[in-house]
């Protein structure tokens, strides 16, 4: 099992295109997800693939905790935080508070997913509280 192929030195044009494409794509994704109003945040909470809660964070006056599956979430006006979970790696807790549109975190072992979105299709002005 010898490697008969000569290893070429230096980067190729393909490398440059790849790096540029990934940079561009992630820039677009970041701009798309983080632009917009922060006041109209909405948290979508999934358990085992089913959307179990949809919370309009701006409506919250007093923060509270909810239990979704084996995870406990702290719901506040400015974000959602995983505060406890039965999972082994606790990555969901390490993530901290999800505060911005486009933020997402999952506790994969417990099948709990939280996505922060803004109110779909509505500008802040047209929202009736």
């Amino acid at each position: 099992m010898t490697i008969d192929k000569e290893i070429k030195k230096g980067i190729t044009r393909g490398d440059v295109i790849l790096v540029a494409a990934v940079l561009l794509l992630s820039a677009i994704l970041f701009i798309m997800s983080f632009s917009g109003e922060r006041e109209t945040l909405r948290a979508e909470i999934y358990l085992s693939g089913e959307k179990v809660q949809e919370i309009l964070l701006s409506d919250i006056t007093e923060s509270y905790t909810i239990k979704i599956g084996e995870c406990e979430l702290l719901i506040e006006k400015n974000g959602v935080t995983f505060i406890s979970s039965e999972c082994s790696d606790k990555l969901c807790i390490k993530k901290g508070k999800l505060t911005r549109k486009g933020d997402a975190m999952a506790c994969v072992p417990e099948k709990v997913v939280v996505n922060i979105k803004s109110i779909k299709g509505k500008t802040p002005d047209s929202v009736t509280y």
């Binding site: 099992m1 010898t2 490697i3 192929k5 290893i7 070429k8 030195k9 230096g10 980067i11 190729t12 393909g14 490398d15 790849l18 790096v19 990934v22 940079l23 794509l25 992630s26 994704l29 970041f30 997800s33 979508e44 999934y46 085992s48 693939g49 089913e50 999972c87 082994s88 790696d89 990555l91 390490k94 993530k95 486009g102 933020d103 997402a104 975190m105 999952a106 994969v108 072992p109 099948k111 709990v112 997913v113 996505n115």
Partner: protein, 168 residues
């Protein structure tokens, strides 16, 4: 299978596990890391296996890592490792055939890291039942670029020495 091949695969499998274990210890000390993301140093071994033995070599290393993840970190982690590892092994094995023509090891490393992360997100989506987790992809994209470039260029530097080793 020739005995030399068995021995080489054994050493590479062990190396992949050690690198993976070491980076697990390092992760808490690396700043600005997206939660759950790792440098993927063991991908250097997978890429080398793909270079030396093609897809079967890369898949072999992937399965060693998957079994290790199953024993040490549980079913969820090993399933995600399997999804990421197989997709990455497949992409790297194809691209390595055209090394220097399409991508150098730098581009191959980046593609491997990208595929590994996307495969893991896919695995996480399957387990949790919702593809909305792909919202997290934007963090991993930019991170794959850095880790892939690191692992790719490490292999580029190591390759001439490894080649010399193979010929003895």
């Amino acid at each position: 299978m020739k005995s030399k091949k068995v021995a080489t695969l054994g050493i590479m499998g062990a190396l992949a596990l050690v690198l993976g274990f070491m980076e697990n210890m390092l992760v808490p000390d690396i700043p600005f890391l997206p939660v759950g993301a790792k440098p993927g140093l063991s991908n250097i071994v997978t890429m080398y296996a793909a270079t030396a033995m093609g897809l079967p070599g890369a898949v072999y290393i992937t399965f060693i890592k998957v079994i290790f993840a199953l024993i040490t970190r549980g079913v969820t982690a090993s399933f995600m490792s399997l999804c990421g590892g197989l997709l990455s092994a497949l992409a790297v094995s194809i691209l390595i055939k055209y090394e220097g023509k399409i991508f150098s090891f730098l581009g191959i490393g980046i593609t491997g890291a990208l595929m590994h992360n996307m495969g893991q997100l896919f695995g996480a989506s399957v387990i949790s039942g919702t593809f909305t987790i792909f919202n997290y992809a934007k963090y991993l994209l930019i991170f794959s670029l850095i880790t892939g470039a690191v692992t790719g260029s490490m292999l580029m530097l190591l390759m001439p020495r490894l080649n010399k080793l193979q010929q003895t």
